[in-house]
Symmetry: C2
Subunit: 200 residues, 2 copies
């Protein structure tokens, strides 16, 4: 269920997010509604909506009457702390909800894993970063933790601004396979173990 973006706003939002994660804009850069609207061939409305949304996803900073700027990635110390919070949230979700996950939801997670594999095979680091996070999100939703997803996403998003596990992303993929296998086996302990090995 790779959400097919239907509305113009979603397409614009996704496109800008992709470019942000790809590092196309330097941190601190001011983004202009008109410029992006022209580039995408749409009006300023959806671009505006996208700016508000991406601000609250953590990628952009909003300044009234002055537009948005690209946020700086978190500093190393905060990164460590954020990673710890992320582990706690995903662990909590698995502990509380893995047992209740339906087969349908397991299928969704497997589909997310497939998309991650495709991204890894293509070598497109931006796609890998986004699919990586989406895989984890699918697990959380499968565990019935939609409640925590938005806060969790806030924490992860900006980490992506310097996503660079590029070293060996096939290793990263293998870690995710391991996570999925544990999920499929409905083993809470093994899943948490695998998650901890992956989130770092």
């Amino acid at each position: 269920m790779s959400i097919a973006p239907k509305t113009v706003r979603e397409q614009v939002t996704n496109q800008i997010r992709d470019e942000l994660v790809a590092g196309r804009f330097e941190a601190g850069t001011m983004l202009r509604e008109t410029e992006l609207a022209n580039r995408f061939g749409v009006s300023r409305g959806p671009v505006r909506d996208a700016f508000i949304q991406l601000s609250y996803e953590g990628y952009l900073a909003y300044h009234a009457n002055r537009g948005v700027t690209v946020r700086h990635p978190p500093n190393p110390e905060n990164r460590k702390f954020i990673t710890s919070l992320r582990q706690q949230i995903e662990t909590h979700a698995v502990e509380r909800g893995l047992a209740k996950a339906t087969d349908d939801e397991i299928d969704n997670i497997e589909a997310a894993l497939d998309r991650l594999k495709a991204a890894c095979d293509s070598g497109d680091t931006t796609a890998i970063a986004l699919q990586d996070i989406e895989f984890h999100e699918t697990i959380m939703i499968g565990c019935g933790a939609e409640d925590l997803v938005s806060a969790w996403r806030q924490l992860c998003s900006r980490m992506l601004l310097t996503y660079s596990r590029l070293g060996d992303y096939h290793q990263a993929y293998r870690e995710h396979v391991k996570i999925f296998d544990s999920v499929k086996a409905r083993s809470i302990e093994a899943t948490i173990e695998a998650l901890k090995a992956n989130i770092k």
Copy 2:
């Protein structure tokens, strides 16, 4: 620095947020752009912007082409977990940044405390809830943790949907005085202690 809402969007956003925290809308209720736009005497644009923003603050859930609904407050088990995360974030902010807080920032925190006092004196529980959270936010910003504020806010927001420390809000106020005194004395340990006593 009680942010004076300048744009229509900010006013609309604040107004809707107030009503949400006040419990004016039942959880699951669908909010209509036109209705609110008429009530506030503005066009649908700013209301739309407010919906997107409040969705990402955690109060509303967005459904493409079908508008927004009021989110349900977190269940008791998640509440406990969220409270723990909140404590960790505020503690982390204080540990890393209290020493570097400038006198100006201490003044801002004191101003926030004054506004909380005014709210308590008035007995307006909605205002108390919002000033409570704003006081904590001001501390985090004072400690240079803007980086973590948006995720932190996501966690707190929905808790407000059932803010009910109403029992004795003068006790709550005293707790905040204690926090401020520790902050002013730049005592990291005492501040963390006071925060832990307050966040529960």
